[in-house]
Symmetry: C2
Subunit: 156 residues, 2 copies
């Protein structure tokens, strides 16, 4: 299908969320979800971390983080990780702060993926066996953002 004129080459590059503790979040997105840290941009007051899945070939680093899709940008404002007065971030799913909902990953074997998350101690918002839909789950990242887990080929 041809693109709308003026939008050739547009890519959905990334989704940005703020994180309280960069170490906890980098560990989660790399070691639990299996993403690769592609670029880090330190600034005086904050640091930006770009992560995404390595699908082999040149997909990860060719041309820098701006030249591919499906990245997550973690914004860490320095100091929040150790500030006792920092209240944390909102997930976007609670009134009156609703808006953003979740990130979602799709996986080839959802039973195996969820069993592994359980073994790693990842908190679940919805296990496969909860509720009506038995083929999707929701886990929580270190800030409480919802991450949907759904199988390849999923149809609601």
């Amino acid at each position: 299908m041809p693109r709308v004129a003026g939008t050739d080459g547009f890519m959905f590059n990334h989704t940005m969320i703020r994180v309280k503790d960069h170490n906890a979040s980098l560990k989660f997105y790399q070691e639990v979800l299996g993403m690769t840290l592609i670029d880090t941009y330190p600034n005086d007051d904050f640091t930006l971390y770009f992560l995404g899945y390595d699908h082999g070939g040149d997909s990860v680093k060719s041309g820098g983080a701006a030249n591919r899709e499906a990245l997550i940008e973690l914004t860490h404002n320095h100091g929040t990780e150790s500030d006792p007065n920092f209240k944390g971030y909102t997930s976007g799913n609670e009134e009156p702060n609703r808006g953003f909902g979740h990130l979602a990953i799709s996986v080839p074997d959802i039973e195996a993926a969820c069993a592994r998350f359980e073994s790693l101690g990842v908190p679940f918002r919805k296990k496969l066996t909860d509720g009506r839909m038995r083929n999707i789950a929701f886990i929580l990242d270190p800030d409480g953002y919802w991450i949907e887990v759904l199988p390849h080929g999923f149809k609601p």
Copy 2:
């Protein structure tokens, strides 16, 4: 780089945001940003719309919306578009509701892309000429979510 064990085949499938008026949002994401509507899942109380960029080949529809990366899921709770008491959604960028930050698209010619957005009457949060960074812009979607526009090959 090999994946962490247990995460082979994982993909960053989508980012979900709630939208007040599905017609306004579908028009924006398709006609302004140039995404393709890939799947629609109607329910009694809400409808889910999955959109993403068509990069040719089988990328858009092979195996359904769950078998690719970089989609956006728009959740429309029926009735919000005409409910005078509906207060709208939060963008995630204002205190005390901070958390989610923005979506980002990368484009081959950022001057042309921003000139086109201006000609379409899209509101800007940051034009190219605003502030220090002259090679990124932020536009607003119909709900006020921030969308960063950055050039291919961008480096902060």
